[in-house]
């Protein structure tokens, strides 16, 4: 079975859209953060898959290797995505802290119930 050459992008986009759907369609704030995690991982995968070279190997140069005898995959997306992963966990931590704070203030993490509390007090 052959796949079209762009299959990696399409697979990533499908994952990304599932993440986006969770973020915009679900009322539960913790669930939204899970959707955001899925979205982040998909975005990282999009860039890493661009750096893959057919027949290439991980960009680690073995002892005594000579020029251009080994094909390496592109190391640049790897470096940028390392940064993205760490920034992603920082975002997740901050988001979850805000969720905990909202729960302390409203007693719920469901968006519609939070809106109801706000309307009752307005």
């Amino acid at each position: 079975m052959d796949l079209p050459g762009l299959w990696n992008y399409w697979a990533v986009i499908v994952l990304m859209m599932i993440g986006l759907y969770i973020v915009i369609a679900r009322d539960n704030l913790v669930k939204k953060m899970m959707g955001l995690t899925i979205f982040q991982v998909s975005a990282i995968m999009l860039y890493v898959s661009m750096g893959k070279v057919e027949g290439g190997t991980a960009p680690i140069i073995p002892e005594g290797a000579h020029d251009s005898e080994i094909v390496y995959s592109n190391p640049l997306p790897h470096v940028l995505m390392l940064t993205a992963i760490v920034v992603g966990i920082a975002t997740t931590a901050l988001g979850l802290a805000i969720v905990v704070r909202i729960y302390k203030a409203y007693g719920t993490v469901e968006e519609d119930e939070i809106g109801a509390v706000d309307r009752r007090e307005a």
Partner: protein
């Protein structure tokens, strides 16, 4: 191209993501989020990004899951039933279609990058700074791992910025979660329904 093992892992990821979207038991969903990260770490290894893979396995599957579980311990473990809405679904479909249209000009998966000039079938991404980084790592730094050299030296400012982001996030989390001193003596009871 024969059916690659990457595609099989993508199918697993897809199944996990769909189950996360449908589950209302948040504890199970949190564990599945960790599994999603671990599966993607396997996929990164197949795509030759070993450094990204072990960072994702440690940070995504480890720390993120612990944070999720911690949040669930402090809040609720079940999600409320809610009616299915069509508008988000339409928005997601349209966005996905636009993104797929955007990929039509992209180079195919695994396009080679050999040669100094971009040729037909070669991905442009491999002709920018990456060849210099691979060459320079060997000649200037005498390091085996190209990713380390780029992270710490060629793009050291990126890493500095990343550190600033983590620092800011840590301060934010501390400010949000560590109970501060009460202003004067306004309500000692601090009821959980208090909107402040």
């Amino acid at each position: 191209m024969p059916f690659p093992i990457e595609a099989l892992l993508f199918l697993f990821l897809l199944a996990t993501a769909v189950v996360i979207a449908r589950l209302r038991d948040l504890f199970a969903a949190a564990m599945l989020t960790g599994m999603f990260s671990l599966l993607s770490a396997g996929l990164f290894t197949l795509m030759d990004a070993v450094d990204v893979a072990f960072t994702e396995a440690a940070v995504g599957a480890g720390i993120a899951t612990v944070l999720m579980l911690g949040t669930l311990a402090l809040t609720e473990k079940r999600e409320n039933q809610q009616p299915t809405r069509t508008l988000p679904f339409v928005v997601v479909l349209l966005t996905g279609a636009a993104l797929i249209y955007g990929t039509l000009d992209m180079p195919p998966y695994g396009s080679p990058g050999t040669g100094p000039e971009p040729a037909a079938g070669n991905a442009v991404i491999h002709h920018h700074v990456a060849p210099d980084y691979i060459k320079g790592t060997k000649e200037e730094f005498k390091l085996p791992n190209v990713v380390t050299a780029v992270l710490a030296s060629y793009r050291g400012y990126d890493t500095l910025g990343e550190t600033a982001v983590i620092f800011t996030a840590a301060i934010g989390v501390l400010l949000l979660l560590v109970p501060g001193r009460k202003r004067k003596s306004e309500d000692e009871s601090a009821a959980p329904e208090d909107p402040r």
